[in-house]
Symmetry: C2
Subunit: 203 residues, 2 copies
DNA sequence: GCATATTTTAACCAAATGGTTAATAAAGGT
DNA sequence: ACCTTTATTAACCATTTGGTTAAAATATGC
């Protein structure tokens, strides 16, 4: 049999697990489905990753990383506020466009997994938004933006970026959009989101 | 045995099913857990509701109804635009405050259940936003608001209302908020959301 | 009070599922 | 070539799970 030697078994398993877990979630995913999707024997899953939970942990951790790592790095960078908002919206929209089903997966599991599991994964590396907070305070004093709490600003930016993808079937239905129309609206929003946010705080 | 006669068995089942399904989702929910939560024998679930899927259908339908029915009725009412935005944000925030775990449940299942299931539940009753669209066009022509697509405006309003609850564990973690702090921020947002939206479109 | 219909339960069942095992195949080292 | 280690597989196992059933309890109509 012509086995593609370049993708190792472990990589095939990870790719398959990602597909299945993100589509079905921890509870809905079946080890047999992951094995089939990877084209290997089910026992290999346990040979390489010990248990379903351990395999899930790897996939979840990677997904959470992809989803959250950029938030902090951009929002705490040294860019001017409006540029920062634009960069965040654009880059973040891009990440999510490329992984449209990732947010729902991660959010869902963060709400369902026990606290101990999350603690173990996220550990103590508490992000900090000091830079952003100072920056916003300064702009408020300068009078360039209205008084706004940094927490709510961040919540708004993230909400506008992520939620449309999480609620895709809802919006498609209530607004009667086919997949193509929905896609092009999401494309518009890549630049629009930042302008919405800026307009809402600009004085 | 002193059976509380006022709550019928069927009602007890529905209440328990709601609790378990919303907490665990279709895949994670166990019929035995629902029976235990209702304090009855598992066979009664099938006696009253035939199958897990049928029971789930009832709970999901009720949840989706609660979540979506008000969107249309408010957005298509005859109120002036800004009042409409305020009413929507306030009322919708209230609904979700009172059912904080409902959105994730509904969104999750809408993404996971087969198209046929959703078609069967939502049927043909296609909501229409004609009123709102005309209203927005009029305000744009009058020059009271910037040019904005109604679709994106509605997406923004709903995103800001719902997403913070869906992503509660995320926001609590990245912003280091305890449950109380988070709750008080959500309270602020009940009125803030509308002002954000209005500020973003006002000329 | 009694026959009938409805409700409830304990015990049971078959299928599915995560996980294991023992044997086989392939790779690596010498 | 030969031995050892690593990788892979088919068959198997125990438990869980949605669902059924037959009998018991309760309510209903007369």
């Amino acid at each position: 049999m012509p086995r593609t030697k370049n993708t190792s078994t472990e990589e095939k398993i990870l790719a398959a697990a990602k597909t299945i877990f993100i589509e079905k979630g921890m509870d809905g995913a079946r080890m047999q489905d992951i094995a089939d999707n990877a084209g290997i024997n089910k026992a290999l899953l346990h040979y390489y990753f010990k248990s379903k939970e351990k395999l899930f942990e790897v996939i979840f951790k990677e997904g959470a990383e992809k989803l959250f790592s950029k938030i902090n790095s951009i929002l705490n960078s040294d860019l001017p506020l409006f540029e920062k908002i634009r960069l965040f919206s654009n880059e973040y929209a891009e990440i999510i466009s490329q992984n449209p089903y990732l947010p729902l997966f991660v959010l869902n599991e963060m709400n369902k997994q026990p606290h101990s599991f999350l603690e173990n994964i996220f550990g103590k590396n508490q992000p900090t938004f000091e830079n952003l907070v100072k920056q916003i305070d300064k702009e408020i004093k300068k009078g360039t933006i209205k008084p706004v709490s940094p927490v709510n600003l961040v919540i708004n930016m993230i909400s506008l970026s992520i939620f449309p993808f999480v609620a895709k079937p809802v919006f498609q239905r209530i607004m009667n959009l086919d997949a193509l129309q929905f896609g092009s609206i999401m494309d518009q929003r890549k630049t629009m989101n930042a302008e919405f946010i800026i307009a809402s705080i600009k004085k």
